[in-house]
Symmetry: C2
Subunit: 193 residues, 2 copies
Amino acid sequence: MNKRQAQKQITREKIITAAKQIFIEKGIINTATAQIAELAGIAHGTLFLHFPNKDALVIELLDVELIKFSDNIKQLILETSDIDKILDQYLNLIQAEEGFFSSLARELPNYKDELRRKILFRESLMREHFHQVIEKGIEQNIYTQIDIPSALTFLFGTINYYLSLKSSFVHQGSVIEKFHEQIIDIFMKILKK
Amino acid sequence: MNKRQAQKQITREKIITAAKQIFIEKGIINTATAQIAELAGIAHGTLFLHFPNKDALVIELLDVELIKFSDNIKQLILETSDIDKILDQYLNLIQAEEGFFSSLARELPNYKDELRRKILFRESLMREHFHQVIEKGIEQNIYTQIDIPSALTFLFGTINYYLSLKSSFVHQGSVIEKFHEQIIDIFMKILKK
DNA sequence: TTACTCGGTGAGTATGTACTCAGCGAATGG
DNA sequence: CCATTCGCTGAGTACATACTCACCGAGTAA
């Protein structure tokens, strides 16, 4: 890779890094592309040499982050098959990137179809992991017969709710940390025989 | 009331009616005040003679609707004390105004602090009703000892999740209708001894 | 050294939208 | 009947913001 290509790569990464930082702080919808460019330390126009439009940048940003997260989850499920331990670790992972997931939860319903579908598809893959673990638990007679998709919607829906209204639940600090135990308790209650 | 006052009143109602209709269809955030004025059949500037700014219109609109809804809930809880029947009726009420609540769920996390707090306050009053009924059930040994606020967040969080992502759950028709039974089943499972 | 390439620049364009205000004309009141 | 009030009009203003493009200059290749 020659000097030009290397510099181009660096610029691209500067844009994504800046976009991610702002996304964590306040989301993307109310962020001007000029603001991202400024934080990245590049000219406004440069952003559009790397991404055809704002949406493309958002898609790349979210896609990259969610794939990383999804890989973590996959790993996590290989390590243990106790749903309460998986859920515990899952909440820890969300907490570690709470700003990101809070912005995502808040803005997701307002994204354009394509982007929303893409993100929900990633979420559905994660659900699938949970589904299989619970299914196994039911087969082994550890958990009660239950409609697993509904149970998982309760779980993910509730987590989403805490995240999307984070600032109303806590003034500072982590919502997920605050309600960590309650989430696990109630969800295990749903699974209990 | 003379002719002028009457006309003024009518104009104001035209604005609110139009705003509500558009709110149900696509929410308020991505709606221009000019569009509301057009649907109301009045000049754009007229809107600002009745409301100092867009936010004031939204506040009035939502406040009126939520007070109506809250009164219905209060009534409902006087009629029966079976939580499953209350929940059943509650879901029916939401379903009857699903467009409204779907837009609200989608946009709520993005409203300015004041408006969001106002709406969450109304919601907290409704939670209070549910809380008391469940508490009574626990005292009477019908339900298990449980952290009621957490249980209710699971309930309202999940309903909110279905509503905010309605278009991803159903292409047409009602989400709440579709998941009506599951919501009740899982919530009763949470309460079960 | 020189001609060319190409990533970056930032002022400019197009568009959208909240809110204003000078003026109009019907209603009001004396 | 006339002067005044006042709700309404809609063109205009101010501002925000996504995206463009003519130009620049460092890097590249001969």
